[in-house]
C-alpha cells in the first residue's frame, strides 16, 4: 500500500511553504527516520524525516524544487517494491470544500455585474466568454475564493519578485492588476524581494497589532552591576563564553516571571493559559538575520546557568543566521526579549510576539551622570527598558510592577542571579 508524502504544517500559521528539493532519489529505498526532503516553512528551512518505510516514487507532475506548495499538497509516495504509483493528481488539495460562503458571495456579485440584458442591449458590451462564463468557472475550480490576478499582473509579479497571492486587487471582483503589483514594490520602482519569510513576519506583526491591546511602558534602570558582571566574564582566566546582556536579562526575567506568571500567559485559541510553577519557562530572543527577524526560543531557562543560557542562545543565533532553525526551535516561548541597544536606540515600542503576553525591549547602555543621595553626582551605566504588554491580559499597574521588578533585578543582578 503506497504511503503518501504530503506537505506538513510546520507552524501554527503555516498555509504554504517552499519545497526546496528531495534529499532522496526517485526509486531509492527509504527507512523510517531518513531525511526525505527540505521544506522552507514560515520562518525556517526544515529537513523532513520519513515516518514510513518504502521506495520513493515521485510523480511526473509533482512540485519541482523551488515551487510554493500548500500544506497537505502531495509530493510523492513511498511504495513497496514493484508497486505502481496510485493514479492521483499530486497537486490536488484533499478535502477541498465544495460549498464556501465566500464563493457564494463572489458568485452573487458576479451576477449583478453581468446582467443577462447586456446581450440584447446595443449600448452595452457584448461580453467575451471569459467574463460571461466566470460564474460557472467559479463552481468548477474555486475561482472566486482565491486571489485572482490578471496574466499581466502575474508576469510583472514574477519579474519584480512580488508575491501577488498576498496582494489586494483593485480590479473587478478584487482581481490583482499590474498596478497593484507595482504599487506593492518600492515606490522608486526598484526591485523588491518580498520573500515568503518576510511575508510571514508581515502577517505575524500585523496579527499582533490587530489581535492585542498593546501598551508600552518605558523606564530606566541602573545597569552598572550588569556591565561589571560582563566585564568579569571577559576578564576571567577560565575560558568561558561571555553572556550577552540579553542572556543575563533572560535569566533575570525568568525569575521575575515566576512572581508575575500572568505576564507569561499564552493564548491558545480563546483560552489564556498561565504557566504553573512547575512549568519550564522558555524565553525568546529576537535575532536580526539577512532574511528578517527570527525569534529562537531558549527552553528551560530557569534550569540553566547564565553560561549555559549564553551557549544555547549563541548556538540558536548562529542557526538562525544560517537559516537552519527548526520550527520546534522557535516554538513554546512565553516571553520575548528584543535588543536594539547595539544600534544606539533607547526607548521603542516592541510588538508582542503572539500568542505571548509581553515583550521586553532593551535599549543602549550609556554612561551618564546620576544624582544619588545627598545631591551627589556619580557616573552610572543606564539602560532604557521598553515593556509592551497586552492590556487584555493584564492592566497597567501590574505591568508597571512587573517592569519595576525587572528593573530591580537588573540593578541588583548578582543577588538575583545567585538566588
Amino acid at each position: 500500500m503506497a504511503v503518501e508524502i504530503r506537505v506538513p504544517r510546520l507552524g501554527w500559521s503555516m498555509e504554504e511553504g517552499t519545497f526546496l528539493g528531495w534529499l532522496k532519489q526517485e526509486g531509492e529505498a527509504v527507512k523510517s527516520g531518513d531525511v526525505l526532503y527540505e521544506l522552507e516553512g514560515e520562518k525556517a528551512t526544515q529537513e523532513i524525516e520519513s515516518l514510513d518505510v518504502g521506495v520513493l516514487r515521485i510523480p511526473a507532475n509533482a512540485p519541482v524544487p523551488g515551487s510554493v506548495v500548500a500544506v497537505g499538497a502531495l509530493l510523492g509516495y513511498l511504495v513497496s517494491d514493484g508497486e505502481a504509483i496510485p493514479d492521483t493528481s499530486p497537486t490536488r488539495e484533499r478535502g477541498e470544500a465544495d460549498t464556501n460562503p465566500t464563493r457564494e458571495r463572489g458568485r452573487a456579485l458576479h451576477e449583478t455585474t453581468n446582467p443577462e440584458s447586456r446581450a440584447s442591449n446595443p449600448e452595452s458590451v457584448t461580453l467575451n466568454p471569459e467574463r460571461g462564463g466566470a460564474p460557472a468557472l467559479a463552481d468548477a475550480s474555486g475561482y472566486m475564493d482565491r486571489v485572482i490576478a490578471s496574466p499581466r499582473a502575474r508576469r510583472v509579479a514574477t519579474e519584480l519578485g512580488v508575491d501577488w497571492t498576498r496582494l489586494k486587487g483593485s480590479g473587478r471582483n478584487g482581481r490583482v492588476r499590474e498596478r497593484d503589483v507595482r504599487a506593492a514594490t518600492a515606490t522608486d520602482g526598484t526591485r523588491s524581494t518580498f520573500s515568503p519569510r518576510r511575508r510571514v513576519i508581515a502577517d505575524r506583526m500585523l496579527a499582533s497589532q490587530r489581535q492585542t491591546a498593546s501598551v508600552t511602558l518605558t523606564t530606566r534602570a541602573d545597569a552598572t552591576q550588569l556591565v561589571r558582571l560582563r566585564e568579569q566574564f571577559k576578564a576571567s582566566k577560565t575560558p568561558t563564553i561571555v553572556p550577552s546582556y540579553a542572556d543575563i536579562i533572560a535569566k533575570l526575567a525568568v525569575t521575575v516571571l515566576r512572581q508575575y506568571p500572568h505576564m507569561a500567559s499564552r493564548w491558545d485559541g480563546d483560552r489564556l493559559i498561565e504557566p504553573t510553577m512547575t512549568d519550564d519557562l522558555a524565553i525568546g530572543i529576537a535575532v536580526d538575520t539577512d532574511g528578517g527577524l527570527l525569534v529562537p526560543v531558549i527552553p528551560q531557562v530557569s534550569r540553566l546557568s547564565v553560561r549555559q543560557v549564553a551557549e544555547r542562545s549563541r548556538e540558536l543565533i548562529e542557526k538562525a543566521r544560517a537559516g537552519k532553525l527548526s520550527t520546534a526551535e522557535m516554538q513554546g516561548g512565553v516571553f520575548t526579549i528584543t535588543n536594539l541597544g547595539a544600534y544606539g536606540i533607547d526607548a521603542f515600542t516592541p510588538i508582542i510576539n503572539v500568542p505571548e503576553t509581553a515583550i521586553l525591549g532593551l535599549g543602549a547602555i550609556r554612561r551618564e551622570p546620576v544624582v544619588i543621595e545627598r545631591d551627589q553626582i556619580v557616573i552610572r551605566d543606564l539602560i532604557t527598558l521598553s515593556l509592551t504588554f497586552d492590556h487584555r491580559v493584564t492592566d497597567g499597574a501590574p505591568a508597571a510592577r512587573f517592569l519595576q521588578t525587572i528593573r530591580a533585578a537588573i540593578e541588583d543582578a548578582a543577588v538575583w542571579l545567585l538566588n
Binding site: S120, E123, V125, L127, E130, S150, R152, R155, R172, R177
Partner: protein, 667 residues
C-alpha cells in the same frame, strides 16, 4: 479543306475519342482497384462531343468544364498519364494532386479547369470571351456543361451576357438526359436546350451528340463566327452516358438496363469508325492500328501514374496565394503622412477614384464591371468620367446579375485580364458568393499556382442613413474565413487610395469594402503615387492605457471619444488593421504588450466574427500581457432596421465605445 486533310482530321478525331474511351475504362478498373481515391465521373458514351469541338481550338482558346470533365481535358490535349496521376492523387497529376476528378487544371493548354459545382463554367467562359474581346486576341472560349446546368441561373445570366456583349463563346450543352439521376424530361419545361438560343438572341442548335462529324461541322462554324466577332453560339448535343453517374454508384434505380444497352449500341466511336471506312477515310487495319496504339498509350499512362510520387504534405498550404506576386507599381508607403506641401485634403471617394484612374491609365488589362458604372459614373461616383476616356468595354455596365458578372470576372482573371467588379453595395454580392468562395478564391490553389486571380471586388458596407438591411451589411468576417482571398477594409482616404492601388496590382483576389458613411470623409493624401502593403496595421493614435482595435467607421467613432477619455486620464491607443486578410496580429500584440487592455470595436454582430478572431489571437499569443479580460463591442445580433431609433440601437455609438473603455479600465 482537301479530302486528305479531312481524312487526317477524322482520324485524329477517332484517335482522340478512343483515347477518352480507353482511358475512362482503365480509370473504372483503377477505381475498382482503389487507385482512384475520390469521385470518378466518366465520359463513356459522350466521346463524340469534346474532341469534335476542341478540334477547332488552339492551346490559347480556353475551355471551362464541369464535373464530368475527363473527356474535355483529354480532348483539349491533356496527356492520359497526367489525368490518371491526378485521379491517383499524385504529384505528376494535372492539378499536382490538389484537384482530383472534378478539379482538373492544365492552363498551359487552355484547359482552365473542371468544377465540382454545376454552372460556373458557363460564366467563366463568358469571362474568357470577355478577355478575348478586351485584349482583341481572337480567342474563343468554350463552356462544356450538362443538361443539369441548363436549368441553373448561371445558364441564363451567362447566355444573356454573352449575347449583349457578343462574346466569342461556345456553350456546349452535353445533354445526357440525367442531372445525376434526375431526368431532364422531368426537370425542364422546355424539352430542348438548343432552341433556347433564340430566347437570348443567339444561334442555337440541337444535335445528335453521338454524331461526331455533325458536331465537328457545327462547332467549326460556331468557332468561325465567334472569331469573326459575331458572338456566341449555343449547341445542344443529345447523348447518353453509358456508365453510372459516378463509378461505384448503382445505375438502375432511375433508368433501365434496356435503355443503357440500347444506347451502347449507338456508340459514337463505332459509328465514326463505320463512317470512316464507308467514306474511304480509313481502313479497318489503319483503325485497328490506332486502337492498339491507344491501348498501349493508356497502359503506359496507368503505369506512369501508379509509379508517380505522392505530393509532400509540407506543400498542403502552398498556392493559397500567388507565390510570385507582381511588384508594386508605386513606392510602398504605409504610414499616414502629416499634412505638408506634398499632400492634399481629399475625400475617400476622390482617393479611390484617383487610384482607379491612375492604374487604368497604366494597365490596359483593367476593366470595370457593375451596374451604372458606365455613363452614369457609378452610384457613388466611383468611376465618374472614366467612361468617356476608356469606353464601354473597359467601363462595362451590366444587367442586374451579380452572380453572372462575378462569375465572368473569374473567367476573365483566369485568362489574363484584371476585372474590377463594382458591386455598389456588398449586400448585392450575396447572390455571387458561390462564385467568390468556390471559384475565385480557390482557383490559384486548385491549379497549384498556375493560374493567377487578379480580381478586385469592391463595394460599400456599413450601417447608416436608414439604408436598412439590404444596403447595410459588412460581411468581412465571412470573407475572412476563406483561404485565397484578401479582405481590405480602409478607414480613411490615405488608406483607401494606397490599398486600392495595391489591390489593382495584386495577383490575388481582393474584397475591397468601403464604408458608405466614410465616403465623404476628408483626409490627407500625398500628391505622389504610392501603395500600401496588405497585412500592415496602422496605429492611428498612440496611447498608454488601453488598445482599441477597430476597422472602417469604427476607427473614426473611436477616435471621436479619445480626447474626452484623455481628459479623464484614460490614454487610448487605436489600431486599425486595415486588412482582415491578411491580419497583422503582430502590431496588435505589440500594442497590447504596452497597454495590457484590449477592446475590439466591430460594427457587425459578434458571433464567429472579426473581434473574436483578434481576441483569440491575443489570448493565445499575448496572454501574459493582459491585465484585464478582452472586451468586444459589436453591433447587435439583428438585421439592420430602417427607423433611426432602431438603426442607432444596433450599431456601436461613440457613447457606447467610451462607456465600454471606462468599464474595461475598471476590470
Amino acid at each position: 479543306m482537301t479530302n486528305n486533310t479531312n481524312s487526317q482530321t477524322k482520324l485524329a478525331l477517332y484517335r482522340r475519342m478512343q483515347i477518352i474511351r480507353l482511358t475512362e475504362e482503365e480509370l473504372a478498373r483503377c477505381h475498382q482497384r482503389g487507385l482512384v481515391l475520390g469521385a470518378c465521373h466518366t465520359y463513356v458514351g459522350e466521346e463524340a462531343i469534346a474532341p469534335s469541338v476542341c478540334a477547332h481550338l488552339g492551346p490559347d482558346d480556353p475551355v471551362f468544364s464541369t464535373h464530368r470533365g475527363h473527356g474535355h481535358a483529354l480532348a483539349k490535349g491533356a496527356h492520359p498519364r497526367e489525368l490518371m496521376a491526378e485521379l491517383f492523387g499524385r504529384e505528376t497529376g494535372l492539378s499536382r494532386g490538389r484537384g482530383g476528378s472534378m478539379h482538373l487544371f492544365s492552363p498551359e493548354i487552355g484547359m482552365m479547369g473542371t468544377s465540382g459545382i454545376v454552372g460556373p463554367c458557363i460564366l467563366q467562359a463568358c469571362g474568357g470571351g470577355y478577355s478575348s474581346k478586351l485584349m482583341q486576341t481572337g480567342r474563343v472560349a468554350v463552356a462544356f456543361f450538362g443538361d443539369g446546368a441548363s436549368n441553373n441561373g448561371a445558364f441564363h445570366e451567362g447566355l444573356n451576357m454573352a449575347a449583349i456583349w457578343k462574346l466569342p463563346v461556345l456553350f456546349i450543352c452535353e445533354n445526357n438526359q440525367f442531372a445525376t439521376e434526375i431526368p431532364f424530361a422531368y426537370a425542364s419545361g422546355n424539352p430542348s436546350v438548343g432552341n433556347r438560343g433564340s430566347a437570348y438572341g443567339i444561334p442555337g442548335f440541337e444535335l445528335d451528340g453521338n454524331d461526331a462529324l455533325t458536331i465537328h461541322r457545327v462547332a467549326g462554324e460556331a468557332v468561325a463566327r465567334a472569331r469573326a466577332g459575331d458572338g456566341p453560339t449555343l449547341i445542344e448535343c443529345k447523348t447518353y452516358r453509358t456508365r453510372a453517374h459516378a463509378e461505384g454508384m448503382g445505375d438502375f434505380g432511375y433508368r433501365t438496363r434496356e435503355d443503357v444497352d440500347a444506347w451502347k449500341l449507338r456508340c459514337p466511336i463505332a459509328r465514326l469508325r463505320q463512317q470512316l471506312i464507308a467514306d474511304g477515310s480509313a481502313t479497318e487495319v489503319e483503325l485497328d492500328a490506332i486502337d492498339a496504339e491507344v491501348k498501349s498509350l493508356v497502359e503506359e499512362s496507368r503505369r506512369f501514374a501508379e509509379g508517380s510520387a505522392w505530393p509532400s504534405a509540407n506543400d498542403a498550404t502552398r498556392h493559397v496565394y500567388c507565390e510570385q506576386p507582381s511588384p508594386p507599381r508605386s513606392p510602398i508607403r504605409n504610414v499616414i503622412p502629416a499634412p505638408s506641401s506634398e499632400t492634399r485634403e481629399i475625400t475617400y471617394t476622390q482617393a479611390t477614384h484617383e487610384a482607379l484612374s491612375e492604374e487604368m491609365a497604366k494597365n490596359p488589362r483593367i476593366f470595370v464591371m457593375g451596374e451604372g458604372i458606365g455613363v452614369r459614373g457609378g452610384n457613388f461616383k466611383t468611376t465618374a468620367g472614366l467612361f468617356d476616356i476608356y469606353g464601354p468595354v473597359r467601363l462595362c455596365d451590366t444587367p442586374i446579375c451579380e452572380r453572372g458578372f462575378v462569375g465572368l470576372a473569374c473567367g476573365a482573371a483566369m485568362t489574363g485580364t484584371r476585372p474590377v467588379i463594382d458591386f455598389m453595395f456588398a449586400d448585392f454580392v450575396m447572390d455571387s458568393v458561390g462564385e467568390i468562395v468556390n471559384q475565385i478564391a480557390k482557383m490559384q490553389y486548385m491549379s497549384s499556382g498556375r493560374l493567377k486571380m487578379p480580381v478586385l471586388l469592391r463595394g460599400c458596407i456599413g450601417i447608416g442613413h436608414s439604408a436598412a438591411t439590404h444596403h447595410s451589411g459588412s460581411y468581412y468576417a465571412m470573407y475572412g474565413q476563406v483561404p485565397g482571398l484578401r479582405v481590405v477594409v480602409p478607414s480613411n482616404p490615405f488608406d483607401a487610395k494606397g490599398l486600392l492601388k495595391r489591390a489593382l496590382n495584386c495577383d490575388d483576389p481582393v474584397l475591397f469594402l468601403e464604408h458608405r458613411e466614410l465616403l465623404t470623409v476628408k483626409g490627407t493624401v500625398p500628391t505622389e503615387e504610392y501603395e500600401i502593403e496588405f497585412g500592415k496595421a496602422s496605429v492611428v493614435r498612440t496611447g498608454r492605457d488601453v488598445t482599441v482595435v477597430a476597422l472602417a467607421r469604427m476607427v473614426q467613432q473611436t477616435l471621436s471619444v479619445c480626447e474626452e477619455l484623455e481628459r479623464d486620464g484614460i490614454s487610448v491607443e487605436v489600431v486599425d488593421p486595415r486588412t482582415v486578410l491578411p491580419l497583422d496580429v503582430e502590431t496588435i500584440l505589440k500594442s497590447v504588450a504596452k497597454t495590457g487592455r484590449l477592446l475590439i470595436v466591430d460594427e457587425p454582430p459578434a458571433s464567429c466574427g472579426f473581434a473574436g478572431e483578434i481576441a483569440a489571437q491575443v489570448a493565445a499569443h499575448g496572454f501574459n500581457d493582459l491585465d484585464a479580460p478582452i472586451y468586444r463591442l459589436n453591433g447587435a445580433f439583428a438585421p439592420t432596421p430602417y427607423s433611426p431609433p432602431l438603426e442607432g440601437a444596433v450599431v456601436p455609438s461613440p457613447q457606447a465605445i467610451a462607456k465600454t473603455i471606462r468599464e474595461l479600465m475598471e476590470e
